[in-house]
Symmetry: C2
Subunit: 441 residues, 2 copies
Amino acid sequence: MSSLHQFLHHGNYSALQAHLVEMNPVDLARDLEQMERGEMLMVFRLMPKDLAAAVFTYLDSSLHRHIVETITAQEVRELIDEMFIDDAVDLLEELPSNMVRAIINNTSPETRSLINSFLKYPENSAGSLMTVEFVGLFETMTCQQALAIIRKSGVDKETIYTCYATDQSRHLTGAVSLRSILLNDNDCLISEIMHAPVICVHTSEDQETVARKFQEYDLLAMPVVDKENRIVGIITIDDIVDVIEAENTEDIEIMAALHPSEDEYLKTGVWRLSRNRIVWLMVMMISATFTGTIIGHFEEMLRGAVMLAVFIPMLMDTGGNCGAQASTLIIRGMAVGDIDLKDWSLVLWKEIRVGVIVGVALSLLNLIRIMLFTKAGYQIDLVVTLTLFITIIFAKTIGCCLPLFAKLCKFDPALMASPLITTIVDAFSLIVYFTAASCIL
Amino acid sequence: MSSLHQFLHHGNYSALQAHLVEMNPVDLARDLEQMERGEMLMVFRLMPKDLAAAVFTYLDSSLHRHIVETITAQEVRELIDEMFIDDAVDLLEELPSNMVRAIINNTSPETRSLINSFLKYPENSAGSLMTVEFVGLFETMTCQQALAIIRKSGVDKETIYTCYATDQSRHLTGAVSLRSILLNDNDCLISEIMHAPVICVHTSEDQETVARKFQEYDLLAMPVVDKENRIVGIITIDDIVDVIEAENTEDIEIMAALHPSEDEYLKTGVWRLSRNRIVWLMVMMISATFTGTIIGHFEEMLRGAVMLAVFIPMLMDTGGNCGAQASTLIIRGMAVGDIDLKDWSLVLWKEIRVGVIVGVALSLLNLIRIMLFTKAGYQIDLVVTLTLFITIIFAKTIGCCLPLFAKLCKFDPALMASPLITTIVDAFSLIVYFTAASCIL
């Protein structure tokens, strides 16, 4: 950063240009983000076109808009033409629609038609994730012919390490690694060394499914085919890493009863942050009032034994925590593919037994504690111990059932995480508590 | 699966062998896991050595042990020699130590010394994650010489798509992609086309840091160097994808107050599952009793106005949920690198404002609700509204501060997630509640 500044201040532009091409695009983008905007634009314009396109994709989205608005239409056109199609489409999706129209009308006809077809794919589908810059070979070629094509066309391709073989009508028939092409004889046919069948996805497949396949088969790239099994693009692992992180963030946010958001925390406004939180909070606040109603129902009993109120927080918290543990394990297990709907009976039986073990341990510990430190009388001790035990087993059971049930109904299981379960378990534990109290006291 | 069975039943072993080499190792491993163990072993032994080694790495760990115990020492030796070193080390780490000793003594001397040096790296370090099967080139070579080396040695290498250039003493000096070697002239020098400096990690670096670097720079492979900057291995992206998922699972489990575990849920025993949950549950149960003590302290007041107890669950739940939302966003923000310790003032100021907005909205909604449906009297309405408002702001504040504070003290911020915060917020809200009640009533 300071070195870029120095070059600028001394007006030493050719040395700056030489320095720029030596830098890593990621680092360069980070430095640019910290510069004053006029200087940033000056440096940006000094970069060769391919570097500028690479750096641009790593810049923050607020800077994207600033740059596109500031540079000339001709420069925008060159930038978009130089970018990989999937990056260009990502850029267009974050710009306002009038700008998008202006940009698309301004690009080269081929780029324009490509972008248009990309914009038609649903968000988060394999089609929206893919890039069209792949090496396609015919299965009838020899290794030597294939290498010649890769040498000639490889420069503009996102990855050349896996090539895809097709028949004459461009139906996907096999995959062949650059490694096999290199390591085999010159006149060996592609059809002899290619792998078939190829693991591939359809354009409309959800990105989460795509990510699972990548992980399952340890792939670096995967072809995307249309309904007629013709290859239309590839997805590369670097985009999949981002998908995995985004899906994880979404799950974690939903599990904490947040409306999921793709924006960075520090760059999200206070109103937006509040809106993302408030709906679920309201729902849960209202439902928690039912729990209050239960207490209201037993008001008379509580007046007679106010001591009962002392144990309410402990019962509610422990039940909530037990439920949260169970639901978290099940939600995560389903997300990473370890647990499937058909395992429901195994899961349920496991959680019931865990509930019994945990229930015995915790209620015994608690019994000892209240007998030693609280002078509530043995009747209340009994009520508390019994309630705690039953609540824990219930919490573990409901904690594993709800996510499975959500999956069955095709809802996101993450919705069934701790806040919702806490509310249900709270109500249950209070009903058990007061019922037990009215029987025993 | 059924096709494998058919071959076996007809005793058609040569056809089975031909069928096996056509299959994807991942699918093959899945099929083997579902077979009866004797048949599984028979099929396993029919595979060519390299396929057997690939399939073996995808098998479940219980089968690993079964196979290693059943096949001959000679077969184990061939299997280990054929596997990539990092996979072999992973296998050894899951076997009991007497078996490990027997296996290591039995492998070839080179493999043995490699495995031994690997076993010295701390778990989850870059050293334990790397593989030694990379292509190393000298910077003084020409592209043609480099290609000849890749062709000759490439077969046994985990990836040949990025090669690393060193000076004569094997100090890492640059990285060069197979793509550049292919696309440049035959007599172009590696030193002219290589990238420098190379983004690399030290053997002792934590795997989470390594994963961040991979994501930041969109890499497919990264070299690992020793203290003298000599290249000792590489880490490939497929292992990083697994690291990312494992780190996410760990975070999610810690956030739900679970002792993190790397085992699959369905394969973990009931006692183990219970042990992973019980310690935190006990800690939180004991701390929740302090909340109960607060109620006990105000027993007299509660006896006079039992109605107050009705609102306790709603206040506790809402406070806990607000705190959980804030802490989750901050913990996740820090995990993906969006939020840094130095941003603490920005975060705090944001959360206070969000707290005010959410607090106003929720307490107004609640006020309307209790005025309409609960006949508690305007004094209690006032106490509840005031407590709710203050609790929400407190929950948002403490929810963002605790994870930051944990990071400052070098603890895992995920420890400060909802269960712990719930306990703190519960106690706080009850103190505010009863204090307000004693002032106003």
